[in-house]
Symmetry: C2
Subunit: 338 residues, 2 copies
């Protein structure tokens, strides 16, 4: 049943039926009632593309994230979806798999009006922001969350990465660690750099040196990461603690320690940014810096809808910082070494 | 830059430009070349809704799942997305949060042609399939995966739930268990019932009775589930093993055992269906029945595209069963009790 057939059934023009369905003032109340009754009777449904074309609204937002099989992002998407559902919006999900070229291709795809707005968390390989500038030029509302780019002017939602990394490092120092290694995930990402700066500043303000050999740049290749960690733990100057800047690196450390029979926390303390639901059941349970992932998703989406509903709003550079929580568990316990 | 402006620039009719861009035989090769060159020069992009309206294709598929912060579903979505991306399709994600009414509302929303096909895994509360029948009546291609409904005629992709539950129960019996409890997630879901049947049949063929008091119907309320498990473990006739039909229930068991200081595997063996990446790092590591989640997502999507590309194909009732794997770890280890 399309509009044409419905109009024929009603013996009205297509334009009159369309106007009646849109509640136009040009159509009498009586005609509207007749049209709506007939539409219901014949189970007529509005074609969403014709409708979108008319309204220039897709009622759809896009979420571009590196991966979905990751507790932070799946919780953030839950938050995003909760707001979108309240507003009657559809959510398109795009995964970059940490690939900069794929991220560029996705943003190109989104430039033609398919979505009313974009929420994005950058890949670890995103080396520049030209593709984000293009989105801005096309005046498509854009909000970055978690993995944001410092240099682009758009609303951003973050957790307090610097501060929580500083506190996490201080926690390790308080529990006796003097030679703390840091596992970084990317040179490009500002959150990675902020976390590293928190680590370095905590060392310095406690009279400890930050050494380059203790900052390990990891990647998306699990096997490579594990051999880097193995090399680190077998080195002469081996660390007494490891600070993992992302969840999967903390799990890589657990894996290597199991293999090398390194006892956590006795021989090595471990802390990591993580939203792992099983952190408390790990052997030993993992001390985490837990970001408010769900809340970050909700906050970013609320801002996006403000921009969608009120063009020009994105000129106000909203920057929201939410608080992460350090949850102390067994992996950083001070243990006597005798 | 829209089609109208482009036509004006070219001094051609809108219809001619549109036909040229669609490579119509009515337009000469020379004109086509001119139109394409100008479109590129002016960075003209096709409006996706106008384009969809013309082609009656949205190049979008919908994925309807109970939740996303769950390892099985996030891995399955990864698989779905990998095929969709190869085909240049967009993926809309809808979460039912295990709510039957929400599932119905979502399927209503998808009936108006917004998507070319639907992949679906039912909520644990889905009590009937009228909403699925409606999708079928509208001739929207539909493929169910994992949590399927037996009574609807459409392609289905499953893992071997009965067989793997049977084997898992036999594994517990071999390791000395005689009083095995089963945690069910839903009376409605066929996978839940198949898993339970595998458990019951394994007990019987080994000369053990299946008792109703040992089959616990859990829900989506974590606290309720934990008190049910606590009650079970405090009862006179307490089990020597628990078989969790879904991942989160296995974690609830770990939680309760920690609280009650029940030693796994000495006092209680635990096995569960799970795609938990950290299963091996748990204390103790968890024996799992691991479904091929990623492959199930890919398989379901491949079948969906066959139907989308070849109408009528959904009359062939494809039923695919993939193999799960039992990964034996510490939580089911035979330990002497002295």
């Amino acid at each position: 049943m399309n509009l044409k057939q419905l109009a024929k059934e009603l013996n009205l023009s297509i334009s009159a039926v369309s106007k009646a369905l849109r509640d136009s003032h040009e159509i009498s109340a009586a005609t509207k009632a007749t049209v709506i009754a007939k539409a219901k009777e014949l189970n007529y449904q509005v074609n969403p593309f014709a409708s979108s074309l008319r309204k220039q609204k897709s009622k759809t937002i896009a979420v571009v994230v590196p991966e979905i099989a990751n507790n932070f992002f799946s919780l953030a998407i839950n938050g995003i979806e909760s707001i979108a559902q309240e507003r009657g919006y559809h959510v398109l999900i795009y995964l970059t798999h940490e690939d900069f070229q794929k991220e560029i291709a996705i943003t190109k795809l989104l430039q033609n009006g398919r979505v009313d707005g974009i929420l994005m968390s950058l890949s670890s390989q995103t080396a520049n922001i030209l593709h984000l500038e293009e989105i801005k030029e096309k005046q498509i509302p854009l909000v970055l969350f978690d993995r944001v780019a410092e240099s682009i002017d758009c609303p951003k939602v973050n957790a307090d990465d610097y501060k929580s990394a500083l506190k996490a490092t201080e926690h390790l120092i308080e529990n006796g660690c003097r030679n703390i290694a840091f596992l970084s995930i990317s040179n490009y990402l500002s959150i990675s750099n902020k976390r590293m700066k928190g680590y370095v500043d905590a060392l310095r303000s406690n009279g400890l040196k930050s050494e380059n050999s203790m900052i390990i740049e990891c990647s998306n290749h699990e096997e490579n990461n594990k051999s880097l960690i193995k090399k680190l733990l077998k080195s002469k100057h081996r660390p007494d603690a490891i600070f993992a800047s992302v969840e999967k690196l903390a799990l890589n450390v657990y894996d290597v320690c199991k293999e090398l029979k390194v006892n956590i926390p006795k021989d090595l303390k471990v802390i990591g940014f993580s939203n792992l639901q099983t952190a408390t059941f790990l052997n030993p349970s993992l001390t985490t810096i837990t970001q408010p992932a769900y809340e970050m998703g909700r906050e970013a989406t609320s801002i996006l809808f403000k921009i969608i509903e009120k063009r020009g709003y994105n000129m106000i550079l909203e920057k929201t910082t939410l608080k992460s929580e350090i949850i102390i568990r067994e992996s950083t316990l001070a243990v006597s070494k005798k």
